[in-house]
Amino acid sequence: MLKIKPERAGTALVLKLEGEIDETFDLTKLLPGYPPEMQVNCRGVNRINSVGVKAWIGYFQKVPPVVKLSFTECSPAIVEQFNLIKNFKCSGEVISICVPFMCKKCAKNVINVFEVKALQASKCALPPVKCPCGGEAEFDDIPEEFFGFIST
């Protein structure tokens, strides 16, 4: 079940998404119109099914071009869709993504948020990341696949 938490930040409407995106995804029920700026925070999205992808694109492709649409803290499940579906971000800009790491010492999963512009500037070279246990965490995916949408 997807939880959507709307917040105001100046003129922007921030939508915090948490849970699974599926066939029930429909922001028109929550938002009768469009704000001048819409930031969609996707940190809490853990999975999205095929009809969820369809509903997502169906909604965001109708957002008028005058609306400043952006996606922040995109979870790996959302990043995967940016890589699989060319028009998944529609007219939006991807501001930041959650990059998955795994601790070499305790095997815990660690998520660090990176700005997309910084990743583009560094050609997706990642700085050393520490786990809360003190161990060194390594990037837990295939770089060419995970960062594919950034380089294209």
Partner: protein, 323 residues
């Protein structure tokens, strides 16, 4: 076990892996010279059930230079497609000649390891007597298997997916992998609930129903979910009672490339047409077993790994077995 592995490849890594596999499975190993005459190959293949053929299908190699059409006919006349495994470096969706042909039943990527050997040995065993049907054929003896879960309402799908994710989380599976598998099971359940049902004239009657609709499944429409666990992998099977899966349609979805071409939302269709595409692109291995008019069983195979990176680095397997 009796029979043989026939390898059509000139690659040393192929020879090494399949010779060892044959030895472990107590099968003979043959690696005939490439471009031998097809009649000669027919003799090596023998009768149906005697050979498991592994054919390196990488574009531009010597094994690839064998005329495919002729070879396909030879294979279909001799051992049958269910004993033909295509092997390549690239995933299946990058190989047009495979997504457009049907003379083979299996494709695997060339990422050889002990887990792949275990899976192939299960195939050899299940292939004996041509009874490639049950989930437990892909499990070791005594491996834990869940009680079958029968879905009797369209609303049970979400609960079933959550149950899969919870089971995997309790077993300490990487959260990204458990989400991916739950999503995979969701896609298979949607296919079984909405796409599989057919009227007596063979026409589908649920594929235009919105995925949000709530309805009960009658006896024939009920869908079964099973889970099994071994020391090397997890398996999840989703079974419907229609046996209507069309391999051509599945392969058409597999070869789509929405990373290069925009996905167009079709309001006139209730499904998305993205389920199988997403599964295959994210490295999932799938085994389809179809008894036309009787049942389709989709088995999702997940190697037991420590990290997502390791998962993405392991082999990928897809099978179409028609009984």
């Amino acid at each position: 076990m009796s029979g043989r592995i026939v390898l059509i490849s000139e690659r040393d890594d192929d020879r090494k892996f399949f010779a060892e596999l044959a030895s472990e499975a107590a099968l003979e190993f043959h690696n005939p010279p490439i471009l031998t005459d097809l009649k000669g190959m027919l003799q090596i293949f023998g009768n149906p059930g005697e050979s498991f053929v592994f054919w390196a299908t990488d574009v531009g190699t010597a094994a690839d230079s064998i005329p495919r059409q002729e070879m396909a006919e030879t294979l279909s006349k001799s051992i049958g497609s269910e004993f033909v495994f295509m092997v390549s470096d690239q995933p299946i969706y990058e190989l047009d000649h495979l997504t457009q042909s049907f003379f083979y039943s299996h494709h695997l990527t060339r990422k050889f390891d002990a887990k792949l050997a275990v899976l192939l040995k299960r195939f050899f065993k299940a292939g004996e007597g041509n009874r490639w049907i049950n989930l437990h054929d892909f499990l070791s003896e005594g491996a834990p298997q869940s009680q079958p879960l029968t879905l009797i309402s369209s609303t049970h799908r979400k609960a079933a997916c959550d149950a899969v994710q919870n089971v995997l989380s309790k077993r300490g599976v990487n959260p990204r992998i458990s989400s991916l598998i739950a999503q995979g099971v969701d896609e298979l359940l949607m296919n079984s609930i909405f796409d599989a049902p057919r009227k007596s004239d063979g026409k589908p009657y649920r594929n235009y129903v919105p995925r949000t609709d709530v309805f009960y499944l009658d006896d024939k429409e009920r869908v079964t979910l099973e889970m099994g666990f071994t020391e090397t992998h997890f398996t999840f099977s989703v079974t419907d009672q229609f046996g209507s899966l069309d391999r051509k349609i599945v392969q058409r979805f597999i070869k789509k490339d929405y990373s290069g071409t925009e996905y167009v939302v079709r309001e006139d269709k209730s499904g998305a047409g993205l389920g199988v595409y997403g599964l295959i692109q994210t490295g999932v291995s799938l085994i389809y077993v179809v008894k036309p008019g009787v049942m389709t069983r989709a088995i999702l195979y997940v190697p037991l790994v420590n990290s997502y990176k390791e998962y993405r680095s392991t082999f990928q397997f897809i099978s179409f077995i028609f009984l």
